[in-house]
Structures are given as structure tokens and as C-alpha cells.
Symmetry: C2
Subunit: 237 residues, 2 copies
């Protein structure tokens, strides 16, 4: 029997999925997982996702750079917010970053039952698909969404990943069929689709058009951030 692939559209539906023994790919295109992929690709040694601003601050004393976003904006008093461009900084090479965001870190924490947790973004989709194709294991793509709600950009990524994997995996239920159809309809203008999403509209007020364009870039990097213990590191299988 072929291995299966499924998609969880928001963390609020995660109780419907069995994650044990599976590989989970967490995706939060705008912008947490795009940042994580960028950071790891730029040489950050370790990224620790934490739930609260307090935990994030506490890690500063332990030598971590800190990155914090709430409602799309950089939280006050932290080194970085949630823009991938903030990770393109030579000072971060070999360093550790503690990060807390509205949706992405929650999605990771809700996926801890999985056998393996990987970080996905358009920025690393091909290398991720190539790795997953070689594994003989069921996959669930967990979309971070926005405050528990469905969002367009994470589901588009899930549809794109399903399209890349469909020859080797069986779609479980209807979500992969739906997400793939959506992706096929909109992929011709991915940047346009992302600009049109609800979250892009929220972010547009904050002047982050450049971020959105970058997050819609395919295969900028060939790293796979993977959760080891409590932290994400570059996974070299």
C-alpha cells in the first residue's frame, strides 16, 4: 500500500488527525515558517519556537537572539519581528534565536505527537518534496492559519506540496484534492494570490509588500528545518 498524505486546514481541527508515527510539515507562509527557513539557510544554528513573550524574553538571558510578533507587528523590546529580511544578517550566523509568533509556533506545539516535525515554505518546497518522496511514511501538512481560521496562503502551499507528491502518495480524504485544485487555479500568479489574501491585506497596512513577495518565491533555499527536542535545526538527511 502507498503511504498517505493529508492536510489539516487549521490547528483548531488537529484533533481530527492521528499524528503518531507520521511526518508533520508545519506551514505558516506569512511569515513564521518563511522566516525559519530563511534563518536556517542563512546559518542560524538553532531556532526555538516558544509560546509566550515572557518565555522569549527569558531566553535572551541565555544567549538567544529574540524574535517576537503579535498581530502581524514586531513586539516591543525584541531583537527582531517576523520579517524574513531580518534573518539576513551576518551577526546571526552560528547563533540561537528564540521566536514567538501569533500562529506558527502554536501549530508546531500542537503537532508534537508526530514522529518528525519539518518546516515548510515556498522557499524550500522542492527540497522538502524530494526528502518526503524518499521516505516511506505517512504525511500530514499542518496549516497554521490565522488565529484558528483557515487561510489561503498556507492551503496553497499544502496544495503545491500535494501536487509534487501525488505520484507517490495516496490522498487521504478530500482536503488534498481541494487544495491541489486551488493551487492549480492560482499558481499562475502566486504573488498576486498572496497579495489578495486576507493576511496580506492586514500586513499591507504595515508596509511589508516586500516580505509577501519574498515569501511567494519558490525554492530560494535548499534547507529543511527540523525539530530536534525543542529547537529547529538544519536537517541534513
Amino acid at each position: 500500500m502507498r503511504q498517505s498524505i493529508d492536510i489539516c486546514l487549521t490547528p483548531e481541527l488537529i484533533h481530527q488527525y492521528e499524528l503518531e508515527d507520521k511526518i508533520v510539515v508545519v506551514v505558516d507562509i506569512l511569515r513564521a515558517t518563511s522566516c525559519m527557513v530563511t534563518g536556517i539557510a542563512q546559518g542560524v544554528k538553532e531556532i526555538m519556537p516558544v509560546s509566550t513573550l515572557e518565555e522569549c524574553v527569558a531566553l535572551k538571558g541565555l544567549g538567544y537572539f529574540t524574535a517576537a510578533e503579535r498581530n502581524g507587528e514586531k513586539a516591543e523590546g525584541f531583537d527582531m519581528g517576523n520579517s524574513p529580511f531580518e534573518y539576513m544578517n551576518d551577526e546571526l550566523k552560528g547563533e540561537k534565536v528564540a521566536v514567538t509568533t501569533t500562529n506558527g509556533t502554536l501549530a508546531i506545539h500542537k503537532s508534537l505527537m508526530a514522529d518528525e516535525i519539518l518546516i515548510g515554505a515556498f522557499l524550500n518546497i522542492d527540497v522538502l518534496a524530494k526528502y518526503l518522496s524518499g521516505k516511506n511514511q505517512d504525511i500530514v501538512i499542518v496549516c497554521a492559519g490565522w488565529k484558528g481560521k483557515f487561510n489561503l496562503e498556507d492551503t496553497l502551499f499544502a496544495g503545491a506540496l500535494c501536487e509534487l507528491l501525488k505520484d507517490n502518495f495516496e490522498y487521504l480524504g478530500d482536503v488534498p484534492i481541494a487544495a491541489e485544485a486551488m493551487w492549480q487555479k492560482l499558481k499562475g500568479d502566486l504573488k498576486g494570490a498572496l497579495q489578495n489574501s486576507a493576511h496580506a491585506k492586514r500586513l499591507a497596512k504595515m508596509n511589508v509588500t516586500k516580505d509577501i513577495e519574498f515569501c511567494a518565491t519558490l525554492n530560494e533555499y535548499d534547507v529543511i528545518p527540523k525539530l530536534f527536542g525543542e529547537s529547529l535545526r538544519n536537517y541534513q538527511p
Copy 2:
């Protein structure tokens, strides 16, 4: 300001929506709302959705025909199951039917906060869109799904209805964008898409290919079932 339209992908996410003062369109294409539209079009006077088999049986004593489905199959001891063809029966004209199904009746009961609850299916989509276009009221399309999960056919209907209404309504959030894209990709072969859905595969084992084809028929009827009190009746605005 234009009125808004939104889509709730499964009853498990309905807490994310404010239904007060809004019109809810409940959809369960395979097959509860397709049956309801068919029944009302065939002259059934009243359809009462109830939660349990026991309530359904009890209404038999009060002169109701009874229709009951569990896990896609007709429940034993009831007059009808959940096939639209069972409603094409002259004996039902002017009569009352009590109905309980796996998903459709739950979706109706979870929508009771709404100002108005209407029943949608591909069978009556145009008359529904025409009615909604003339109203100056926000709309939420509630997909019944399958046991709390997303399903393809209800979301496709929601996308189709959004496409018909987009000139007069503002999309709220990302779900309408996503559902419309999915619909546009798959509408060229709606019957094929429905045959490919997870629920169709469940039903196929029960020999209901004919039902699925019929449920994928556009505009067979021009009735709008609407909830008055506890029962659905033909709404003639």
C-alpha cells in the same frame, strides 16, 4: 458598504462565525440538502430535521413520513433513507416528513442563531442566488461536511454560490477566495469531481452512483426550502 459573504467549512468551526442577523445557507450536497430541495419541489409540505433516530420514530405517530440515514445507509424501520429519488413519490405530496442524517441536520441545528436558514444544493443554486442578490443582508454558507471534517462537494457548492454573488457581496476572509478558485478549477467536470470525492467513494459501495449524478445537476428545481420554526417549507418571497 456592500454586504459580506463567508463560508464555514465544517460545523466544527462554526464558533468562529457570528450568525446573528445573517442569512445562513446550509449545504450537504451528498445528500441531505439535495433531498430536501427535491422533496419540497415534489410537493412535500413540511420537512422537519431532527437529531436522533428516536425523535424521528416518535414523529411517525404524529403523521410524519420518516427518513433516516446513518453512515450513508438507510436506517432500519424508516420509510425512507437519504436518496433524492425516494422523494419523487406522489404519496408524499402535501405530507410531512421527519428526517435525520449524519451531517445535514446537525449543520442546521448549529445554525439556529441566524436570522434566516435556507437550504442550498446544486439543484436550486440559481434561484437561491437570485433571492440572496436581492437581499441586503450578510450571508454565511455552512458546509455540513462529513462527521466534522471538510468535504469537497459542499465546499464546491459554496464556491459556486460565491461566484454567482461576487458582484454584489464582499468576500470576508480567505475561504470564499479559496472555494471559488476550487470551483473554477473543477466545474468543467462537476460530476467527475463529485465521483472523486471521499464521500462518493463511501457511497459507491452502496450503489448510489445515480444519486451522485443527480446531486451534481444544476438548477433542476426553483424552490428555496426555508426553516420556519422547526420545519422546512417552500419559501416564496
